[in-house]
Amino acid sequence: MKKRGIGVGCMWYGIGNTGAPNPAGAFLDFLEDGTVLVLTGCADIGQGSSTALAQIAAGELGVNIEDILVVAGDTGVSPDAGATSASRQTYISGNAVLLAARQAKEVLLQEAAGVLGAAASELGLGGGYVWRGGERTPVTVKDILARCRQKGKLTLGSGWFNPLTTGLDEAGQGVPYATYSYATQVAEVEVDTETGKVSVLRLAAAHDVGRAVNPQAVEGQIEGGCLMGIGYALLEEVKVDRGRVGNPRYAEYILPMSLDAPEIHAIIVEDPEPTGPYGAKGVGEPALIPTAAAIANAVADALGVRFYDLPVTPEKILAALTAEGDHKSPDE
């Protein structure tokens, strides 16, 4: 018989290292032809940080993303950005890039202020022009860059950001993170009581990321996290026997594959973080965190039997259903 169940999983996740300094730095060079070089220590491991950082620089400088080159993770040229971990790079390196961009921009704005007889604080850059109070002026960014160079001014910026945290005291009290991301996922499963197999049919995954710099990339993180969470809930386990990994091959360590992928509905919630770049927080790890919890709750809902030991394998389900048949000891 196939039984359907629904489960809810919520989570919170502090962005950056726990109660410890974890700064990131960035350098930026606004080149004289209007293109931009960003140097960052931030390692893009597939999550898309180089793209998000390019967008943040482009947003601040009012240039197209195509005009930004991000050189990332080369210790010969880029400042330390710390680890790509703890869902921290959009928030921390994002702020570092934003600050570096602001510093370079300030040089241009000061120069433009002289040309336009305006205060630098009234001015902005966008689409190749200098803007004043939201109105486009005839002065181009290239003109200003050329004037800066003629006067011997380089349009460089550097920035670094360290989230405001404190260590934890003896009683574990303190401010371990500057900001937190939040999420709720709802899982729908179908459990085959003959085979013990659990199929995840649908997932609704709502994530508060502060601001999605690149919504498609955020969705990608959520979808990938959900599938990894399915693996955690139902399939994956490193078997260790007397210290030795017993299944060090893909043939024996079973990952979710394309046919295991359910319908995943990624929902982006934006409750902006005032200290984040454009309000952004992080999403890399939150994507996975509530999935196994939601699935375990869905399985309990379907069967009336709860599992306290991950992964919830067919063997465990069949054993529990047999025991339940014997003793009739349902959930709570």
Binding site: W12, A54, G82, A204, A212
Partner: protein, 432 residues
């Protein structure tokens, strides 16, 4: 534009919040992106490391004479060949680059073979003789924490403890309408990124230059410089396109071994893990045992939680202390709980090292606190959404560590939106 222009200038709104294609996408769809294993250099050598087959032993001697004599072998290095410090580690420097005294896990690196071709490498590996004396080993935190357990790093096996105490849990438990206590256990998990660990090192213009698959090139630089005993400015680490990490490429894998081989031989050296080596030797997600007690009043409002988390960090600390500390901080879930007593233990064993993996201890505690919420809801006849909405953080809420949350507290909106989507899709039909 931010600031005075209030984001009204056209170029800004068109780039933040826009799904721009990946800046490295074209290289990745055409196959031209050069991952570390795709690199080669003139005169390049190949390297592979011999690993221990026992979990706990005193290393007596390594005889590599026969291996060195294999035609095509350039060098075989052991701990004695390391010019600087032979200890690395993100939080605690407790892990040898090549074992010098004690083997603490199956898979500990013992000797590095460098050769002109893969065949010579394989032949030399089988010629190395390792002499050791096995020690009693421990394979669970419970055994490791017990009195008289063999000490894996010289003192007790408890690497670190985190305690979070707030309010008065015992009184709150007495006043509670419902109290639920359960034990949760979670398994060891592999990151299983598609690209196995890989790197290429060469001395270029006097700089030890390492192209490597990594999540933290600047950490790698610090460790390589210390291990070689040279200035950080003499080491250049270049992150190659990295085929996934998920926390598993934060630790040192090939970096220091490659640095040593290139530094000593003066030639480019490449090292690529096989899938089996990657899965057997890389750090894992911490298996945890979580004892969780929650208490609420008649409306389902949480009064107290008491949580004990024990995580098996294996032979080396890696990111373990941070993982267990984070697990403790997040143990309440996104809920306001006035009385908490949380403790977490990071424990050494002779199991594979557990380090960072996507979520850093929080997926483990989330399984526990979310199961507890459903159990409480069941005890009071409440809907799972209702009990969560009743307890979730709001702006102004205070966490277990006493932090007041002021801004960007979107948990309620995520519950509302996920529930609305589930309703729209008909997922809740016939359920509640």
């Amino acid at each position: 534009m931010t600031g005075q222009a209030d984001g009204k200038m056209p170029a800004v709104s068109s780039v933040i919040g826009r799904s721009c294609p990946r800046v490295d996408g074209a290289d990745k769809v055409t196959g031209s992106a050069l991952f570390a294993a795709d690199r080669r250099m003139e005169g390049m050598l190949y390297a592979r490391v011999l690993r221990s087959t026992v979990p706990h032993a005193v290393l007596r001697r390594i005889d590599a004479e026969a291996a060195r004599a294999v035609p095509g072998v350039a060098a075989v290095y052991t701990a004695a060949d390391i010019p600087g410090e032979n200890r690395v580690g993100i939080i605690v420097k407790d892990e040898p680059v090549l074992v010098d005294d004690r083997i603490r896990r199956v898979g500990d690196p013992l000797a590095l073979v460098v050769a002109g071709n893969e065949q010579a490498l394989a032949a030399a590996m089988s010629e190395i003789e390792v002499f050791y004396e096995e020690l009693p080993a421990v394979f669970s935190p419970e055994e490791a924490m017990a009195g008289g357990a063999p000490a894996i790093h010289g003192q007790g096996n408890i690497q670190s403890v985190t305690r979070i105490v707030r309010g008065d849990v015992d009184s709150a438990l007495k006043e509670a309408r419902a109290v639920i206590s359960r034990r949760y256990t979670t398994q060891m998990v592999e990151h299983a990124y598609l690209e196995p660990e890989a790197g290429l090192a060469a001395v270029v213009d006097g700089l030890v230059t390492i192209w490597v698959s990594t999540q933290n090139p600047h950490y790698d630089r610090r460790e390589v410089a210390r291990v070689l005993g040279i200035g950080q400015n003499r080491v250049r680490v270049v992150q190659s396109p990295t085929g996934g990490g998920f926390g598993g490429k934060l630790d040192i894998s090939v970096q220091c071994l490659l640095g040593l081989a290139a530094w000593k031989t003066g030639r480019p050296v490449r090292m690529v893990y096989s899938r089996e080596e990657s899965m057997a030797a890389s750090p894992k997600r911490h298996p945890c045992v979580i004892d969780y007690t929650s208490a609420c009043d008649g409306d389902g409002r949480l009064l107290a939680v008491k949580v004990k988390i024990v995580g098996d960090t294996g032979a080396y600390a890696s990111y373990g202390p941070a993982t267990l500390k984070r697990a403790a901080v997040h143990a309440t879930g996104p809920y306001e709980v006035p009385n908490v007593f949380i403790e977490s233990y990071c424990v050494y064993t002779n199991n594979p090292t557990a380090g960072a993996m996507r979520g850093f201890g929080v997926p483990q505690v989330a399984f526990a606190h979310e199961s507890q919420m459903d159990l409480l809801a069941g005890a009071l006849g409440l809907d799972p959404f209702t009990i969560r909405l009743r307890n979730c953080f709001r702006p102004g809420g205070v966490t277990a560590t006493g932090q007041r949350l002021l801004h960007s507290v979107g948990i309620k909106e995520t519950i509302d939106r996920a529930r609305a989507k589930a309703e729209e899709l008909g997922m809740l039909e016939g359920k509640r």
